[in-house]
Amino acid sequence: MHAVEASGLVKAFGATRAVDGIDLTVPTGSVYGFLGPNGAGKTTTIRMLATLLRPDAGQARVFGHDVVAEPAAVRGRISLTGQYASVDETLTGRENLTLLGRLHKLTRAATATRADELLAAFDLADDGDRLVRTYSGGMRRRLDLAAGLVVRPDLLFLDEPTTGLDPRSRSEVWRVVRGLVADGATVLLTTQYLDEADQLADRIAVIDHGRLVAAGTNSELKSSIGGGTLHVRLRDPGDREAGLALLARALGAAVPVDGDPAGLTARAEAAGGAAAALAELSWAGIEVAEFALGQPTLDEVFLALTTKEKVA
């Protein structure tokens, strides 16, 4: 049985079709990444799957239980850490965790042990007895993630779990997620970072304007996007048009970078092609201030996915 099976999910807020017909299958025991820009409908989809929002149309099953008809059965198997910290400001970090432990019907002793474990795991051991009101944004976020794990859920929803975290906390969260999955849990997470999806997820769905633009395993998606990306920053923004034309000829699609008058990016299937393109720029007398060969950014993924034919 799949952890999540959804078909034709729709949710509209007034005239906004936040989710506009999404089909989704999340195999049990996998990490599923939901990738999309602001307003794509990621949070709305997750809230419907977590029984917090009623779909306008379509249906969704979590471990075979319908989210609308059998919310109690679904709630028994899931845990959600939403996009915005949903911890209680007027309690301490530890009290937040113990409250949830009691609600999960753990004994007092088990609750206390679990709270200590989680505070340690999320680097909050020294701050556990401070009021959450005095926490920094990242500390709140970590407590929020810990709160979702008081009892190990079979399916964990994480809505942008690492937004606002420093690199160390971020890799800590990744480590925790991997540990959960190794123990048999399923994780559905949303992210705006391609590298996060890449690092963690077995399968990725790219979502935009409430629709799936593409879905597949990482390698399927990557091959549909192209190997890598060449980022170039010209010394003279005036050369941008010429540089763009040249890169487009050498590498195929090339686009200007938003917000950087001298920035260009182009898809580069192989490092050799990128090197040749850079050489051509210099022959043409277009001076390059910086260049980098890297993973496509989310923007580029979208560009690639929307200019290409839809991937399965």
């Binding site: 977590a50 009623r54 939403g82 609600l103 999960h104």
Partner: protein, 248 residues
């Protein structure tokens, strides 16, 4: 039951740490009692001593009514901050969150009652109903307050904006309190206002509380009140629980 108690404990912890709620419970009754007994005591009741017996039951009722207003506001803060989203994804008994919060409220209400009674006693209030009468009166007010809290709970779950919830509850509670027999005898009011005061449930509550504290029979008011409490709870409690569990 564990869940309800856990939420009750949470409410009390929050209460201890939110000085503004303490203000509601402790300062409000003191200020009102002092203002009314010293400013108007002489004018309305002839003397402070005579008026205080009339005033204490009224202040008790008013304090608790105003305190119920924070119930809805506190809940809407939880909703606005997303704390309830997590509770709603837990597999706990539907309504435990709400009944737990009410347990916390009940403690607040009881505390406010103690403040009013003790202050009254200090100012010379000597209820003829004795301990039993006062206790009965307090229980009646607590029952009314908890029943009314279900309405505010439903309101908070429907409106969801903390400021608006508080404003709305106050817009209902203050007129109900002032246009009642809390501070004055209706006989001194113009006819149309007197008619309102007479049907105002708060007046019935105050009359019953006065009777109980004075050791006289509360009469039909008590029956109407108990019926009103039963109705408030029977109608608004299930609606609030349904609303809480319903996916938005």
């Amino acid at each position: 039951m564990t869940a309800t108690l856990a939420f009750g404990g949470r409410a009390l912890k929050k209460f201890r740490r939110t000085p503004i709620q303490l203000l509601d419970v402790a300062v409000h009754p003191v200020v009102f009692t002092l203002i009314f007994s010293f400013l108007f005591g002489g004018a309305v009741g002839g003397s402070i001593d005579a008026y205080i017996g009339y005033l204490v039951p009224g202040i008790l009722v008013m304090t608790l009514l105003v305190t119920t207003g924070t119930t809805g506001a506190a809940l809407s803060v939880d909703i606005a901050t997303g704390v309830y989203d997590r509770f709603r994804t837990l597999s706990i008994r539907p309504g435990a969150v709400l009944t737990g919060a009410l347990i916390g409220d009940l403690v607040r209400y009881a505390l406010a009652s103690v403040v009013v009674i003790v202050l009254g006693l200090a100012l010379g209030f000597r209820p003829a109903g004795g301990v039993a009468g006062v206790l009965g009166a307090v229980l009646l007010v607590l029952l009314f307050a908890v029943s009314l809290s279900w309405l505010w709970t439903l309101l908070a779950l429907t409106i969801k904006t903390p400021g608006a919830v508080l404003a709305l509850t106050q817009a209902v509670l203050y007129p109900l309190s002032f246009f009642s027999n809390i501070f004055t005898t209706p006989a001194t009011l113009p006819g149309w206002l007197q008619a309102f005061v007479d049907v105002n449930p708060v007046s019935h509550l105050v009359s019953a509380v006065r009777a109980l504290m004075a050791g006289t029979a509360p009469g039909a008011s008590l029956g109407w009140l108990l019926l009103g409490c039963a109705l408030l709870t029977a109608v608004f409690a299930p609606l609030a629980v349904r609303r809480f569990n319903a996916a938005g």
